[in-house]
Subunit: 141 residues, 2 copies
Amino acid sequence: MNKGQALIELKSKGFKHTDKREDILSLFENSTGYLSAKDIQLALKDTYPGLSFDTIYRNLSLFEKLDILETTELDGEKMYQFHCTEHHHHHLICLKCGKTKTIDICPMEDLSKLDPDFQVTGHKFEVYGYCKDCRNNNKVR
Amino acid sequence: MNKGQALIELKSKGFKHTDKREDILSLFENSTGYLSAKDIQLALKDTYPGLSFDTIYRNLSLFEKLDILETTELDGEKMYQFHCTEHHHHHLICLKCGKTKTIDICPMEDLSKLDPDFQVTGHKFEVYGYCKDCRNNNKVR
DNA sequence: ATACATGCAAACAATTTGCATATTA
DNA sequence: TAATATGCAAATTGTTTGCATGTAT
């Protein structure tokens, strides 16, 4: 998923095009990792000094519902990035800058018959640490 | 970790023995899965009608700091269970009752050389679904 | 007696909601 | 103009903290 596709998806579902919406999507287009509502507010505070968290949250929720964004939870904060549509995979996540890298191995492939009595509906596999740029200066977010 | 060990650990660190503390630990002793602060308040509301969330949270945090409990985050709620000391492993987690089962396979074993530039500090692998008892009635917690 | 534990009330942070107004199609 | 988007203020949820009191050692 990318900004262009997202805009088309929004339009096709009858949602309106607004500058704020487009600028929020641009942030994800220009980011290589997860962003929080706070990150967005911070990044857009010069462009839209009055941009409210209501609007940010409402848009993030909408984007998530439309599968434009996917989420993870880092330290009690919900984080968002464009939904990866190509293939199922997982991420290395930098705890400082939120940057992600894909891991193409999924542990579930090997675990088909974990427990026949347990009905699996989902899983989470994430690797945390510090990316190259942050590792020399790795204070926690 | 179990209740007996936990009580010894508390005593050895100079923390006092209280009925509430012991009863909270008993809950974990008698549970096969993760419990939230709310679960604890609910389970003890007859025994201690006035038991406050402050006390629950303070104790849970203390237990976590002392490595008596380990945690995960489920849907914005922090969940606790006795810290598993034997060996590194992961869990199947029932989304309805919180019950867990260990998975002895760890995906990290195969991923030693994921990305030499990324300094790995941790990982999370959890499988979600419904346990045998809950699968016939699987409404979300 | 002294340090730790608890309850109360209030504060917090992240997120959500109702409602009136503004904006897009 | 009709439906959607936004801001404001207030509410909600999960959690934490200061302070005075209560209790275990």
